[in-house]
């Protein structure tokens, strides 16, 4: 039987506020235990929550960025459960009336574009941390993280493969960092993914029973966990066993998922509106002010790169993988403007795109640098591209200049002059070298005349060697053909 995997994701995004969502304690990462846990975070008697405007503002920004409905009146609710890292005995979250509902996000899988619907996004507070190791059989509790603002973003079950799920998670990660509501640091838990996975016979409308994989903190683990889980579920069903709803954990060491708790004695969270917090009202002026400050979004840039710059969907998606990459690319284009290319702006854009996604990305990767830390400024890269475009540099020489730019030897023109790298444009000089090469290689000439094409390539190689790669290969080809009698 052919099976289809169905995936929905719940992503917890930690918001970039300075203070916590309901208290004035700091959210900075890495402080000594409990030094950022105030009376409100500790749930001491008599304390009351007061909502942080910055958290609400970030949720609005997100809602606008995914074209969602913003609930002008939204309500905080208590989600009741007992755990030592949750001192109040309930988490303040949103239930019936979340701040954001019904948005969508386009994703790119290869050259395919697909839209993933986002059911809702709601504000809530994070819990503290339990440390289970070695406290004489006791558990240590650090409440620094308690009360950190989170936006939980819930998708519809619209993804059909681990690759689509990863593409969605990446697109969401790009978006939340792009609009500055999250620092995106997955190691520090700023972006945590839960995946709901089920399988069904291909063509079937009804959903299978799902299992939820909790707390995936890398895109690679997300992909591995979904693939393992889907295979496991298919195996169970093919062996005639039923799938039971459950929460599972992914073990990166074994690459397997294992059951954490069965949902049968499921948590009954007994949600109810939090009487300590009044409904939140979003005013139109505030929403419009936030809308006016939104930057051009990745999906808008992608559409513009395709329409105005004639780039492929793949190139457009790659260049907008982060705001820093898009800004770098646009700075290169701006420095190239007015476009020197005979093909106009599109030609310059394709050239710039190829170098940003190719040699520059490779160099950054090699040294583990972010594009914002690039050793080559956009202006200097543009200087190199201009010399490729006007024929001064062959592609081989361009790579040499790029390496020298990376090593900090100055701008492209300085490097070209210092190393004598100019592509040979003097036709007379090239003719002289071609004649010398022909005279010195009578055997190749004879072989070529006898019909061996390989011999021609050998002659081209000899000319390039004699010019130290400075000759234009097309020109060499043409000249050789002419000299050899066509």
């Amino acid at each position: 039987m052919q099976w289809e995997t169905v995936i929905g994701l719940e992503v917890h995004v930690q918001l970039t506020t300075a203070a916590k969502i309901f208290s004035g304690a700091s959210t900075a990462f890495g402080a000594a235990p409990n030094t950022q846990a105030c009376a409100v975070d500790l749930a001491l008697p008599g304390v009351l929550p007061v909502l942080n405007k910055g958290a609400v503002e970030r949720a609005i920004r997100f809602g606008l960025a995914i074209g969602a409905r913003l609930n002008r009146i939204n309500v905080f609710a208590r989600k009741n459960y007992f755990y030592p890292d949750l001192p109040k005995g309930y988490q303040i979250s949103q239930y019936e009336l979340p701040i954001v509902e019904a948005g969508s996000l386009p994703i790119q899988v290869g050259e395919q574009t697909k839209t993933i619907r986002i059911t809702r996004a709601h504000l809530e507070e994070d819990a503290g941390k339990s440390l289970h190791e070695d406290f004489h059989g006791m558990t240590g509790i650090d409440l620094n993280r308690a009360g950190t603002p989170l936006l939980e973003i819930v998708s519809e079950p619209d993804m059909r493969s681990a690759q689509e799920a990863v593409a969605y998670a990446r697109a969401l990660h790009t978006l939340v960092t792009w609009i500055g509501i999250c620092d995106g640091n997955m190691q520090e838990g700023s972006f945590r993914v839960d995946a709901n996975v089920s399988v069904r016979p291909k063509g079937s409308e009804a959903f299978g029973t799902r299992r939820e994989i909790k707390n995936l903190n890398s895109f690679r683990f997300l992909e591995q966990a979904i693939e393992y889980e889907a295979r496991w579920q298919i195996g169970e069903l093919e062996d005639g066993r039923a799938i039971h709803q459950a929460t599972v954990l992914f073990d990166p060491d074994t690459g397997e998922t294992r059951m954490m708790r069965s949902k049968e004695e499921a948590h009954d969270y007994r949600y109810f509106p939090d009487p300590d917090l009044l409904p939140v009202k979003l005013d139109e002026d505030w929403i419009e002010a936030i809308r006016a400050e939104l930057p051009e979004l990745p999906q808008q840039k992608q559409a513009r790169y395709q329409a105005e710059l004639a780039l492929s969907a793949y190139d457009a998606a790659t260049l907008t993988a982060s705001r820093a990459t898009a800004e770098y690319f646009e700075a290169v284009l701006a420095a190239l403007s007015p476009s020197p290319s005979p093909e106009g702006r599109g030609g310059a854009a394709k050239l710039a795109a190829n170098w940003v996604m190719g040699d520059l990305a490779a160099a950054l990767n090699r040294e583990g640098l972010d594009i914002a830390q690039s050793r080559i400024t956009p202006g200097r890269l543009a200087g190199l591209l201009r010399r490729i475009d006007d024929g001064t540099l062959s592609s081989k020489l361009a790579k040499e200049v790029f390496a020298a730019l990376w090593a900090g030897e100055g701008d492209a023109d300085t490097i070209i002059a210092a190393r004598g790298l100019k592509q040979m444009s003097d036709a007379g000089e090239l003719e002289r070298i071609v004649d010398e090469v022909l005279a010195a290689n009578p055997k190749s000439v004879e072989e070529y005349r006898a019909g061996k094409d390989k011999a021609f390539n050998a002659l081209v190689g000899q000319v390039m060697k004699a010019t130290r790669g400075r000759a234009n290969p097309q020109q060499v080809n043409a000249l050789l053909k002419q000299r050899l009698g066509g």
């Binding site: 004035g24 030094t35 950022q36 009044l278 939140v280």
Partner: protein
């Protein structure tokens, strides 16, 4: 709607409250009286009326995003039953 004794025991369990058989029976009748009251209120036709969150027409006040709290760990931990390395210690919890 009326609650069974089983419902009462489940609610008590979820709230981590230990109750004996007599208490369960007493709470069952008390809670059912409350449910009866709710039923009476639900019988009122409220079509077209906005749900009310507060007696006055007010909404949540928002606080500026600034850190106002300083580190008072010592004072807070002075009244905690057990602490170590800055952590609050609690009986071991295992998932």
């Amino acid at each position: 709607m009326s609650l069974t004794l089983e419902d009462i025991r489940r609610i008590a369990h979820l709230a981590r409250i230990r109750i004996d058989a007599d208490e369960a029976a007493r709470y069952q009748s008390q809670l059912n009286e409350i449910f009866h009251l709710i039923e009476q209120m639900q019988a009122v036709d409220t079509a077209g009326i906005e749900p009310m969150a507060h007696a006055r027409d007010v909404y949540q006040r928002l606080r500026e995003d600034v850190v106002t709290e300083t580190n008072r760990r010592e004072a807070f931990q002075a009244v905690a039953p057990q602490v170590e390395d800055g952590l609050y210690l609690v009986p071991k919890v295992i998932e």
